[in-house]
Symmetry: C2
């Protein structure tokens, strides 16, 4: 279908009234000039919404941002990469609080108007001495052209920054939604976090904004998986400042429905970009489960298959190995009847009624050899569906994730441990 | 403590009255003489018990053996390796049935006295033409010295056979328990199965035997994990023929308790041997969870940690990365309080109250660098415990499991697909 969106530049600063700033403060690597500290700021008041990790071990910045977002008035986000400020106890909480306090002071805001995010290694104290000297430079550097700098500053093991922005019309007014993201906790566990920041100049009611964010996250970031690990720091924060001057969109209106759709469109692009840029990922797989007893069963199947080391290794090996898929279906916990299950690679049936299908394996192998393909698992029972974007598991992923010991050594040099 | 067991030779043929036989029929590889078809047989009537995979996709031989074991009279087991006879539909069921029927005919037994097991690739038809000519040779080859041949014939991607046998005294009579096993489904997914066969000459009541097997499996084979995948074929079958002529052991007696303990001792050795010989495994980790709200919570934590790709990669990298462990604890679903959690490598605290402990990381690193070590996670809440034997995840594991496509090609040469 023709989507009514124009892709625009500017990322998280594409929407009117949003400024960004990013510097290198040496947390990622004291010897390089990689950007690792950033600020996002709205030049006017905002409504805000956030979604955070379900992990019961929550990083300090997640706890602080959750508290500040209760005010719904957050209009600035300070973020560091290189240290997750997770498992850092009361000191870590104080560090995260101080980051919002100092940012608020330099921006002349209330502390609860500032959110804080951290991404990086878990369990090491925050090197605050690297952050403290830079609040003024961060604030002085705020510009509406620095969306890309912010996008670069939040990445860790990602190979490139991820940003996306659109404009579209509602009620005769042009609205912009833009954002940036970094590798999912599940993808970039080395760095322990997925972060996504979205800004919009839409004039939107709080309930419509909350709905848009909840729906979009459920359908996008909650449907990607790389390695099945849920991080301690995953955060999605959305700011809306009303600069587009459209008529206020309230929940239940057609305009709110359109806004929700646009929000999901932006998050969908960022979520897929995260999977495609997963650590040492070579395959992007759209895994579609249908015919389940209900949607929850479909989700169980999709998650079991997408997180099976064996299934993922077979994708890496370009092997159309439906036996491993049905085996994961079998232990997913969903209600199944083996003899009703069909599994397709692309449009070709690999498994029909629980048995080897008639498609020539060479045809299937050609499909799995592509960098992106779709797998459909039809349980043949009822109408439950679920869709997940998944990746393969490569020997290089394991190699990459074997050791973070270098971080301990750096922390020792910094006198933190 | 001093255990009252003597280790003896003979494996699955160590107990009196049990014979074994194994041949090469070319399922594993038509061009090699690797043993891949075997028979275990008791020269007198048996009581029997079995435990099978919880996967809802069950291989045909699992279904048939479950039915035959209802009679509790199984006294022979025919096993092939190289093809799992899983996802093979009605034809596969007929093939498994035929394997028991022909075996029974050649042994002059009732069909329900024969169990059947298969291990190998999933989803390809059974190459019955390789099995059918060999029933007579199998039966004629039965000997009480061939436990080792049987142990060799059931392995697939295992690097060596696994067998263990003990003798011990109960009521003045010497009883023997012996068995063999092959790599767990979760370990040897390429070959899709863990199998374990145990024989004993104990004179034991059915209820005592059932109890011994259920308890021992729960405490051994259900506590090992390599990659979190539960196979379609996992089977543990135990035969008891009473040849030791001891006084019948009934459930509830001290003798039955001793027998249960001995059964667990044998299965424990075989289960650990499976983990140690996991595909491309370099570490054997005893993961002990304690202080949980209850045992179920402790199990959730143990399983989340033992199956986290990131935790396992860190073990492979010899990195004492407790951050990854606590992160898996956080998403395990168990009730936790981050600030009560202690994590030790060996006897050294790595994480204390949710924070970096005082142990020098170099000391921890030395522990993780050993081929076998113990990790204790103390949740600090109550008294729930669970223990799992786990392995690392190596780049070589992924490399090894990338493709089984060669099997398709062989099946094509055989005219099976």
């Amino acid at each position: 279908m023709d989507l009514p969106y124009s892709r625009i530049k500017g990322g998280v600063c594409a929407a009117r009234g949003f400024l960004g700033s990013a510097i290198s403060c040496g947390i990622k690597d004291p010897k390089s000039d990689r950007l690792d500290l950033s600020l996002i700021y709205s030049d006017r008041e905002c409504l805000s919404a956030g979604m955070f990790t379900q992990n019961r071990v929550k990083a300090a910045p997640v706890r602080i941002s959750q508290i500040h977002l209760r005010s719904k008035k957050v209009r600035a986000i300070i973020t560091n990469s290189g240290n997750a400020n997770a498992c850092t106890g009361p000191d870590g909480m104080q560090d995260a609080r101080n980051m919002t306090k100092e940012t608020a002071r330099h921006l002349n805001l209330a502390q609860k108007e500032v959110a804080v995010c951290s991404t990086g290694v878990i369990g090491l104290p925050m090197p605050m001495m690297r952050i403290e000297p830079h609040y003024e430079a961060l604030v002085n550097g705020l510009e509406d052209k620095k969306g890309n700098d912010v996008a670069k500053s939040i990445i860790t093991s990602d190979t490139h920054e991820k940003e996306f922005a659109i404009s579209f019309e509602i009620g005769g007014k042009r609205i912009r939604i833009g954002g940036c993201a970094k590798g999912a906790g599940m993808i970039n566990p080395n760095m322990a976090t997925m972060l996504c920041f979205i800004t919009t100049d839409a004039n939107v009611g709080q309930k419509c904004l909350d709905l848009a964010v909840a729906q979009a996250v459920e359908n996008t970031f909650n449907r990607i998986t790389i390695d099945g690990d849920t991080s301690t720091n995953d955060s999605v924060i959305v700011l809306a400042n009303g600069a587009a001057d459209n008529k206020l969109m309230r929940r239940g209106s057609k305009e709110c429905g359109d806004f929700c759709h646009a929000m999901e469109f932006v998050m969908n692009r960022l979520a897929k970009a995260i999977v495609r840029d997963g650590e040492r990922v070579t395959k992007f797989v759209k895994l579609h489960v249908k015919g389940a007893r209900n949607d929850l069963d479909a989700k169980k199947v999709a998650q079991a298959v997408a997180n099976s080391s064996l299934v993922k290794a077979s994708w890496n090996g370009e092997d159309p190995n439906w036996g491993r898929i049905i085996h994961a279906v079998g232990y997913s916990g969903a209600s199944i009847k083996e003899e009703f299950i069909n599994i397709s690679y692309g449009s070709k049936l690999a498994c029909e009624g629980g048995l080897q299908g008639k498609t020539n394996p060479e045809v299937l192998r050609n499909i799995v050899s592509k960098p992106e393909f779709e797998i459909t698992i039809d349980l043949g029972i009822a109408t439950g569906t679920h869709c997940i974007y998944a990746s393969d598991l490569s020997p290089e992923y394991v190699e990459f994730n074997r050791s973070e010991y270098a971080y301990w050594k750096q922390a020792k040099r910094d006198g933190l441990v």
